[in-house]
């Protein structure tokens, strides 16, 4: 039952997102500090030891290590689907007229069993998208890709993107690091989450000129505002930018921050209200989608936006039969 353990572990990782993130931080820090301690014990100064340890341990880019660790949480599902999608691509490659497919990005759909653990509407209709390119599976999408996919309304009833991030909240002399995420305007509608109080972010919050707004969790509401009913409309200073609180929800990240295309943070921690850096710096979203069950369940889309939709059996959560259907459809075209 290793698959079940993987699913449960994936669900736990998702629900306990903050804890897992914090633990990884502590673990990497402790790894580095232990390495420094060892070097100090063998006669180096602490400063020399700190300088030497990072490259020796491959700790030059901690963020990239964290990314690789985070990816593991989902990898098993991605891998198995990726293999099936790759099979379809190889078959496609051999088909006359499809030679150009070789270098294109392929999007596959995954049934995200892990989402069933979350307080969302109809969790069995939610899927996580993965992108397969050059044999590599990834759940990272750029903001334009999220938008493009969201426009495919024959494929998705709703589609949204989320990029986990760490925010610095509060005045400059009392900054507090808080786990959160940038979300696209469709996020809450896709997930079907209801707020405890206030209004959730929506597509209007993504429009140019809309004031930035944030959604906080019940835990954050309790910790910072003692569950005070007047929290809605109060300003949170996020990366130095006042952001008004729109709603409280019960969910796994502390702060959800809309306006992903208009507000980004530069390397110095200053918010730039006109920046589009969110998508350009490769910080991309994890897609949660609500799939129409009686439509195409497996899709292959070229980066050029030409797409090939493969008909397949009716239920997305039966992954094996979906992919079999996709293969048959590909074979039929060859």
């Amino acid at each position: 039952m290793r698959w079940l353990r993987r699913v449960i572990s994936g669900a736990k990782a998702l629900v306990r997102y903050q804890r897992v993130e914090r633990e990884l931080d502590v673990e990497l820090r402790s790894f580095l500090e232990t390495a420094v301690d060892e070097r100090v014990r063998s006669g180096m100064s602490r400063e020399q030891a700190t300088r030497a340890a990072r490259p020796e341990l491959g700790l030059v880019s901690v963020d990239s290590i964290k990314d690789r660790v985070r990816d593991v949480g989902w990898e098993s599902t991605v891998e198995s689907v990726a293999r099936d999608v790759q099979y379809a691509v190889r078959t496609l490659r051999n088909a006359p007229g499809f030679a150009s497919v070789a270098n294109t990005a392929i999007f596959g759909l995954i049934d995200a069993l892990v989402l069933r653990q979350l307080p969302v509407r109809d969790p069995d209709q939610l899927v996580v998208l993965t992108r397969v390119q050059g044999g590599q599976a990834s759940e990272h999408f750029s903001y334009p890709q999220v938008n493009y996919l969201a426009e495919q309304d024959d494929l998705f009833a709703d589609l949204c993107g989320l990029a986990a991030d760490t925010f610095h909240i509060g005045p400059s002399d009392a900054l507090e690091t808080t786990a959160g995420a940038w979300v696209t305007g469709e996020y809450y509608r896709t997930m079907g989450i209801t707020p405890i109080i206030g209004r959730l972010l929506g597509p209007d919050d993504d429009r140019p000129g809309a004031p930035p707004a944030a959604v906080i969790t019940d835990a954050y509401w309790s910790r910072k505002f003692a569950h005070g009913p007047d929290v809605i409309g109060q300003a949170l200073l996020i990366e130095g930018v006042p952001v008004s609180i729109a709603a409280d929800i019960t969910f796994y990240v502390e702060v959800h921050f809309a306006r992903v295309d208009r507000l980004a943070v530069d390397g110095n921690g200053h918010a730039d209200a006109a920046s589009h850096e969110w998508c350009d710096r490769g910080q991309t979203g994890r897609l949660h989608t609500r799939q129409l069950l009686n439509e195409s369940q497996c899709l292959l889309i070229e980066r050029s936006k030409r797409r090939l939709v493969l008909p397949s059996p009716p239920r997305i959560d039966n992954r094996a039969s979906v992919l079999r259907g996709a293969r048959d459809a590909v074979r039929a075209r060859v």
């Binding site: 353990r5 633990e23 673990e27 402790s30 790894f31 700790l59 990239s64 593991v72 949480g73 990898e75």
Partner: protein
């Protein structure tokens, strides 16, 4: 073929971590040091390979992490082998021995034996 004397054969890092933890529970840094010591410096595991591997083994229920305080008074996550981890190590070790024996036979083969 590019020569990489210290590069691990694909997939063997998992087996080596399991083996290291079969000796005693350890934290990430300890695992790296132990692998380097036992291999007499041939294998140096960097954090970019080690932590994703630990996460994957933990996710698959082969190892279990537990927060403890180190001898240097730092908090660290100590990993221990689970029963499935132990079984997996046994299987992997057997498979590895079978493969290396076979490769050894191929490399030593002379025409007279065929």
């Amino acid at each position: 073929v590019e020569e990489k004397p210290t590069a691990l054969v694909q997939g063997t890092l998992y087996m080596l971590i399991l083996k290291t933890l079969a000796l005693e529970p350890m934290h990430g840094y300890g695992i790296g040091v132990r692998l380097e010591q036992i291999s007499k410096g041939v294998f140096q595991v960097n954090a970019g390979s080690l932590f994703p591997a630990l996460r994957r083994l933990e996710r698959d229920g082969l190892i279990l992490g537990d927060w403890r305080v180190t001898e240097n008074n730092r908090r660290a996550k100590y990993y221990a082998l689970t029963a499935s981890g132990r079984a997996m190590l046994k299987r992997e070790t057997r498979a590895w021995e079978a493969q290396t024996n076979a490769i050894g036979r191929i490399l030593k083969a002379s025409l007279g034996e065929l």
